[in-house]
């Protein structure tokens, strides 16, 4: 009997679903073993029954549940609970589900402020009433999935990598254990590090120095070249079997999409320490909290304290 798979998406762009498609050939092997019972992006499976006859949101029983996106509305919260009830194993897919992701940057503001800004105060907005008909209530902040329901497996990344999805699903199908790496991006980064900056902080649109065509092992650390790189405070694993982190492969500094090294880590403190240690001026970072928690705002970002 094939393994039943359910997928649900909440506050998300849809990139992690594209990652599933991006798996390529191995996807064919996986599809032979699974049967998808619920997936809004692919299937026309209604939550309240196919003709709207139901009174409660319902998701069919499944062995594996994938959830992408953080919790932004009460509907998401209910669906997350329903998914947890119906799925034997629940996987948080992508950084939004794992840590809140980009939408969780909104956690720096009160919900009221956000609504005012978006629907009234923004200059490009035709000021109007707040939407209130037939929409679920907004939660007070963006929650990561595991803040709402217990999660069995987390696959971070923005978007997560096809290799990781395959790894996790195959491990699950074969009953093996799947664990995330615990090291930082710097541990997998091949660039030359001398623990001393050779430049002041640069804007991200300036070009780093490297010789095209030469291997990465001959290139100087991007942070030491003055580019803000989140490598020191970010979990590695984006490079997959190739090892070298994704952004570094493209001569770009790490964005931090794989999230912090551990649940207790505070990426802002780690990064400020790392910047100061190599001689860069941490005062030049305009928005510390958001810059260093870009993908991990759920539970980490909050409205700035008023003393």
């Amino acid at each position: 009997m094939p393994v039943r798979l359910a997928e649900e998406w909440f506050a998300i762009c849809g990139g992690c679903e594209v990652t599933i498609l991006d798996i390529g050939e191995p996807l064919l092997d996986i599809l032979e073993k699974v049967s998808i019972v619920h997936m809004p992006v692919l299937m026309d499976h209604k939550l309240f029954g196919q003709t709207g006859e139901g009174t409660e949101m319902e998701i069919p029983e499944a062995d594996v549940g994938l959830i992408a996106g953080g919790i932004r509305s009460e509907e998401h919260r209910k669906l997350a609970q329903e998914m947890r009830k119906k799925c034997k194993t629940l996987i948080a897919l992508g950084s939004c589900a794992c840590y809140g992701g980009i939408p969780a940057l909104a956690n720096q503001y009160m919900t009221e402020e956000i609504l005012q800004k978006v629907y009234r105060e923004s200059v490009t907005t035709e000021s109007n009433g707040l939407p209130n008909v037939d929409i679920p209530a907004m939660t007070d902040r963006v929650y990561a999935l595991r803040e709402v329901v217990p999660v069995d497996m987390s696959l971070p990344g923005c978007p997560t990598t096809p290799e990781m999805v395959v790894g996790a699903l195959t491990a699950l199908l074969e009953g093996k254990k799947f664990e995330l790496p615990t090291k930082s991006v710097c541990d997998d980064c091949p660039l030359i590090r001398e623990k001393k900056a050779v430049s002041t902080l640069k804007r991200r649109f300036e070009a780093p120095e490297f010789t095209p065509g030469r291997p990465l092992t001959e290139m100087r650390c991007l942070m030491e070249q003055g580019f803000l790189c989140q490598g020191p405070a970010t979990r590695t694993g984006c490079g997959g079997s190739e090892g070298t982190p994704r952004c570094i492969r493209a001569y770009m500094p790490c964005e931090g999409c794989f999230g912090p090294l551990s649940d207790k880590a505070n990426p802002m403190v780690d990064m400020m320490g790392a910047l100061a240690s190599i001689g860069l001026d941490p005062k030049q970072i305009p928005d510390r909290a958001a810059t260093f928690n870009r993908f991990s705002g759920a539970g980490r970002l909050r409205p700035s304290p008023r003393r």
Partner: protein
């Protein structure tokens, strides 16, 4: 009056008789020796600081300071050798750079910048060590307990 136990296991009576809990990271080569000198010379200074000996002030990562302050310490001192005197040549300069980063971040945690201080004390300055301790304790006493104490 209710008794509360702080994270360091010290018992202090709340509000009325507020006793600041201060963590002092002292470098092995200068500050700790300075503290030793203050002790052997029988200098008097408040006993609110818990000294943690580190090899160099340059190894005190901002993580340690922020963690101390957000887990109940009322103040943190980072004490190293005078600039130019570092046993490891420029460890204290790194400490200085980190101290600036720490001061910036205190704001993000809604803490007064005065709760953290970087000081230079040489091995011969027992007197200065006692003065630093006295003034830090006074300052923290004025600020009151850390908002994170019962967090």
């Amino acid at each position: 009056m209710e008794e509360q136990t702080s994270s360091a296991g010290t018992t202090a009576v709340a509000t009325a008789e507020f006793e600041p809990l201060i963590l002092a990271f002292c470098c092995y080569w200068c500050a700790y020796a300075g503290a030793d000198l203050a002790g052997t010379s029988r200098m008097q200074y408040p006993t609110n600081a818990r000294i943690i000996r580190v090899q160099c002030s340059g190894m005190v990562h901002p993580n340690l300071v922020i963690e101390a302050l957000t887990k109940g310490a009322d103040g943190v001192l980072m004490i190293g050798c005078h600039p130019g005197d570092c046993h490891y040549l420029e460890g204290n300069l790194r400490a200085k750079a980190r101290a600036e980063a720490i001061t910036l971040m205190l704001e993000d945690f809604a803490l007064e910048p005065e709760r953290f201080r970087l000081e230079w004390v040489s091995a011969a300055e027992g007197q200065r060590f006692a003065e630093v301790m006295t003034s830090m304790v006074e300052q923290i006493r004025k600020l009151g307990p850390s908002p994170f104490r019962n967090y």
